[in-house]
């Protein structure tokens, strides 16, 4: 009998420590916008991505359903994201260009509602995990200080989220357009007055891989809306 109480307590603890999407910390207005495909401006990038995919990719690639749940991935010993894979074939697409955002938004949207399921070799996670817990910048804070130890609490007028990546690319009100996870990470680092890792750099890829693995189980929400 005692065993079952212990098990129940453990499950209750696990539930408390459960991954929560940024949507849970968002205002009513943001939740409303995200839920409405007719109003969510992010859908404009998804539409654009669908067109680009049909034009440039469909001749070789079949359906993209489920693909985004497995990225970032480790292929041939290197960390790859949707962006790096697309840029391998189309290097002319610059980071944060509308075209690249459109394609990644379209591909992620094709997995909307499906849980993230990245499965990297454990040794590839070490660097990203270390980066997550490393203090940085003038503020001398690590990602973990806000997003692991203090999520749910207030920072100014905002409620800190767990910093989950499941909604990216995301329509951020602050950017007034669609943006990638890398842009968001750089924005966070800017807030810490830390050096910004360049787009597509190894440091960035390691962190993205760890963030996705940490978020495993959360459903993809692209195009999410965030503040």
């Amino acid at each position: 009998m005692k065993k079952y109480f212990v098990l129940a307590a453990l499950i209750a603890c696990a539930a408390e420590a459960q991954n929560r999407s940024g949507l849970e910390f968002a205002s009513e207005e943001i939740r409303r916008l995200q839920a409405s495909d007719a109003e969510n401006p992010g859908m404009l990038w998804v539409d654009q991505g669908a067109k680009l995919f049909a034009q440039h990719c469909a001749s070789c690639h079949a359906s993209m359903k489920g693909v985004a749940t497995r990225y970032p991935a480790v292929e041939k010993g290197k960390i790859v994201t949707l962006e790096t894979k697309i840029r391998e074939k189309m290097p002319a697409l610059a980071y944060e260009s509308d075209e690249l955002l459109a394609l990644t938004s379209y591909i992620a949207h094709e997995s909307r509602g499906m849980p993230l399921k990245v499965n990297p070799p454990p040794d590839k996670l070490e660097a990203g995990k270390k980066a997550y817990y490393q203090r940085r910048g003038q503020m001398n804070l690590a990602c973990a200080h806000c997003h692991e130890q203090n999520w749910g609490k207030r920072l100014g007028a905002e409620t800190l989220s767990q910093g989950q990546p499941n909604g990216y690319p995301t329509y951020r009100l602050e950017w007034q357009k669609m943006g990638s996870l890398e842009r968001r990470i750089r924005a966070c680092m800017f807030g810490l007055h830390a050096a910004l890792p360049p787009y597509g750099s190894e440091a960035m890829l390691e962190l993205e891989l760890f963030l996705a693995w940490r978020a495993n189980g959360l459903p993809i929400e692209t195009p999410a809306v965030r503040r």
């Binding site: 207005e29 100014g156 007028a157 905002e158 602050e174 842009r183 924005a187 503040r227």
Partner: protein, 140 residues
């Protein structure tokens, strides 16, 4: 002061206009005609998390017939650097005087909507929105 005058002035205060009719922006389309509070209603959250995009709906109580309809709805943000936000031109073919949009608000302020009816009269509503700022600087 006579009691009648006193009550008159109290009534005037009670239904005081949302915005001055001598305000150059308002004057540009009302030409000094009175703008009466009423018949218009602004639906907007009293607290906006982010000033870049605030959802808003304006409704005007009107049958929207050929002889009695809303001609235009003017939207003004009192403290935006550019105060005139939009003018929506409607007509009987709309069937219903309701327009929704998302606006930008440069800080906490009042939003005023002025409707021009087919009979040439002007009606208004105003709503105050508290606008929050981001906690961290984004830097793009």
């Amino acid at each position: 002061m006579k009691r009648r005058d006193f009550i008159g002035s109290l009534t005037a205060l009670a239904v005081s206009p949302h915005i001055s009719t001598t305000d150059p922006l308002v004057y540009s389309f009302t030409k000094g005609k009175p703008v009466r509070p009423g018949r218009v209603s602004i639906e907007i959250a009293p607290l906006a998390e982010n000033g870049h995009s605030v959802a808003m709906t304006v409704k005007v109580d009107s049958p929207m017939t050929a002889s009695d309809h809303v001609r235009a709805v003017h939207l003004i943000a009192e403290r935006n650097p550019v105060r005139d936000m939009a003018v929506f031109y409607l007509g009987p073919d709309c069937g219903h005087a309701e327009v929704g949009s998302r606006i930008r608000l440069n800080g906490s302020q009042r939003v005023v909507a002025i409707a021009e009816l087919s009979d040439g009269s002007f009606w208004s509503d105003a709503a105050y929105v508290e606008v929050r700022e981001a906690a961290c600087t984004d830097g793009g």
